[in-house]
């Protein structure tokens, strides 16, 4: 895994580099958009961490150029600003996720893993989560390499929860998404499906948590 860090503050850049290297990533640091530009032209990266506030050309500009050239590596934006406006501009420019400074190394590592996982899932059409694997192409599921039998609705619910993880999915949203399958599905029916899913996943390391009054979520995967 090769990661490009675009950050002008050496303290931050070196810290990130060392931290990620400890996690066995290969890391390059560019201290300006121009330098990063030349990096990506000659080398290939699996992921980029980009600070928005760079000297001269800013991070957003760099991301736009990258996307314009059709490079679709996952990009995590690092920003000292956390106003809605900035984050939306970042995502609009083509970033996949953002983090607000100050952040902790473990958090960054988790986001990087999630982004890489997501981009891999798009590539191999597989949703993976702590030993669970939903192959969206063949519509087969395995838990710790053991085939897992899921009904259509269980599959749909699990897919929604995994895609959203670690965010919470409301029962309303589940009902709405499943309405296409069966127009009169109720919130009670959802509860029944969830309890069956929990049963089927009990041997593995997947936790479907109930959030009182809202819905469910699958806890973030461990690594």
């Amino acid at each position: 895994m090769r990661i490009l860090i675009v950050e002008d503050e050496p303290l931050v850049a070196q810290g990130l580099k060392q931290g990620l290297e400890q996690l066995r990533y290969t890391v390059d640091v560019a201290s300006s958009a121009e330098e990063a530009e030349s990096f990506v032209q000659y080398e290939s990266f699996d992921m980029a961490l980009v600070d928005i506030g760079l000297p001269k050309a800013d991070g957003l500009h760099f991301i736009r150029q990258l996307r314009a050239r059709g490079q679709n590596l996952p990009i995590l934006v690092l920003t000292a600003r956390d106003s809605m406006d900035d984050t939306i501009r970042g995502l609009d420019a083509g970033a996949d996720d953002y983090m607000t400074k100050p952040y902790r190394l473990p958090e960054i590592a988790a986001r990087i893993r999630a982004l890489i996982r997501r981009s891999n899932a798009i590539a191999d059409a597989c949703l993976r989560h702590n030993g669970l694997c939903l192959d969206t192409r063949s519509h087969t599921a395995t838990l710790d390499e053991v085939p897992l039998e899921l009904t259509n609705r269980e599959w749909a619910i699990l897919e929604l929860l995994l895609m959203a993880s670690p965010a919470v999915v409301s029962k309303d949203k589940l009902v709405q998404s499943l309405a296409g399958w069966d127009s009169d599905i109720t919130q009670n029916a959802i509860e029944v499906h969830i309890s069956r899913l929990r049963g089927k996943l009990s041997s593995g390391n997947i936790v479907i948590r109930t959030i009182r009054g809202i819905g469910y979520r699958v806890d973030a995967p461990e690594n």
Partner: protein
């Protein structure tokens, strides 16, 4: 609070515009009306008096017609029968006294006790006021020149009728005049109040503003006379607006600038930890970690506060916001923090829509939930609610933590106020941010004791119907 005490301790307050106008109008008007009533009364009295004098003159001439001059010059005779004299004297309720004297002062006829008055110079009937038998009288004097001698006819009349008619005139004039004066005063009071109403509205509009509301006053809606003053006020507002924008920008920039080195520091610290730097000193590790987290949080809060204030002066366009969505989003944000403390974070939400600025409302709720998680002990219960009542839309967070003692309730919304001895590492900006955002949305904040003796903070927004 401060303004009130200042007003109470104020030195001599200059009189208000209304009072000045009322005094300036009412005093001269009352004086003018009073003087004119007095003059009217005097005129009416003179008219009535001269009518009475005329009647007295008639009596004098009546008497004169009864004087028979004898051919011999020395003696005179009063040809007055008892009936005629009775007629002459009948003037109820007034008493009539008369006398006729010759030029030596001898009484030829009439009442003996009629006093002697100086003889008038000419032949006209003249009048003077006098007192007879202890009563005020009006005296008519008439000199008759006879070939041989002069006679002086004196007729006196008590003044009952005059007093009576004066009294009647007085009442007949006083009451309407008083009514006119009272009506004038009322008209002045009412007119001044009416006239100053637009001024009062401008005053109310300014008084209702918060210190951060520096929008311009609408000049077109105000009276022309005060427009120059309001224009100056608007100039001042725009200066203040600029100043507060500069200040907010400074706070935001400073927070931004501090965040990057802090991120670096934190990363270095994390590396040091992973390299085993604090292997034998867990307490120190946690202290440094807490300190850094606290600085990070403070910077975030400072930014939020500066932005909420900036929004107030920039008047960002509000949109329709579903509080249900806001609450749902916060579930994902705070679930892990709650799980870490073993807190049951739950929701009780029903559709609720208000008009506002979504990210600010999200921020307000985030601060309330963050506080609840911070101050509720391990294993506690936090419930986020939203919904609609008949007139209001509400958003509230309830916990079963220690609550807030009565004596601190006044201060918890002040910037950087922290309840003495509070255990967690808050920074005293959470509730001020909530307050600022609530104010921006015209929402009321209610701080209550929850059923479980914890804290329940409720934001009540005006309903959509009332907002339209």
């Amino acid at each position: 609070m401060r303004q009130k005490t200042e007003a109470a301790h104020g030195k001599t307050k200059p009189p208000g515009l209304r009072r000045r106008l009322i005094i300036a109008l009412a005093v001269p008007l009352t004086l003018i009306l009073g003087i004119s009533s007095l003059l009217d009364y005097r005129l009416a009295r003179e008219t009535s008096d001269s009518a009475h004098d005329q009647a007295l003159t008639d009596t004098v001439f009546d008497l004169e017609s009864h004087i028979r001059s004898q051919s011999d010059s020395a003696s005179l005779e009063l040809d007055l029968t008892k009936e005629s004299e009775a007629m002459l004297r009948s003037n109820a309720p007034d008493q009539v006294y008369f006398s006729i004297r010759d030029n030596s002062g001898r009484i030829l006829a009439g009442d003996e006790d009629v006093p002697e008055f100086p003889t008038p110079k000419n032949n006209e009937v003249s009048f003077i006021d006098g007192i007879h038998r202890g009563e005020a009288v009006r005296v008519a004097l008439h000199k008759i020149a006879l070939p041989a001698s002069e006679l002086l006819i004196t007729v006196m009349e008590t003044t009952e009728k005059r007093k009576e008619s004066r009294g009647r005139i007085l009442t007949a004039m006083l009451l309407p005049n008083l009514a006119v004066i009272v009506a004038t005063l009322l008209a002045v009071l009412f007119g001044v109040r009416r006239g100053l109403l637009p001024l009062e509205e401008v005053e109310k509009e300014i008084a209702a503003r918060s210190p951060n509301d520096l929008r311009e006053i609408d000049l077109d809606a105000s009276p022309r006379e005060i427009q120059p003053m309001l224009r100056r006020l608007n100039d001042l507002f725009s200066l203040l607006r600029e100043a507060s924008e500069v200040q907010n920008r400074f706070i935001a920039d400073a927070a931004h600038q501090l965040r990057t080195p802090l991120a670096g520091l934190q990363t270095q610290f994390d590396l040091a930890v992973s390299e085993g730097a604090f292997l034998n000193n867990d307490g120190r590790l946690r202290n440094i970690e807490d300190g850094m987290l606290r600085i990070g949080r403070l910077l975030g809060q400072l930014l939020s506060y500066a932005r909420a204030e900036a929004t107030a002066s920039l008047a960002e366009e509000p949109t329709s916001v579903s509080l249900e969505c806001i609450a749902e989003k916060s579930a994902s944000t705070f679930l892990d923090a709650a799980l870490e403390k073993g807190i049951d974070l739950g929701f009780d939400i029903s559709p609720a829509t208000t008009v506002g600025i979504p990210w600010l409302l999200q921020e307000a709720l985030a601060n309330l939930i963050d506080n609840a998680i911070r101050y509720t002990p391990r294993g506690g219960i936090i419930t986020v609610r939203c919904g609609e009542t008949a007139e209001k839309v509400f958003l509230e967070v309830e916990d079963n933590g220690p609550g807030i003692a009565e004596e601190h309730l006044d201060q918890i919304f002040e910037r950087f106020y922290r309840i003495p001895g509070s255990p967690s590492n808050g920074c005293g900006l959470g509730l001020p941010i909530v307050k600022e955002i609530a104010r921006l949305h015209g929402a009321d904040i209610h701080v209550m004791r929850s059923a479980a003796n914890g804290l329940r903070v409720r934001l009540e927004f005006p309903g959509l119907r009332t907002q339209a």
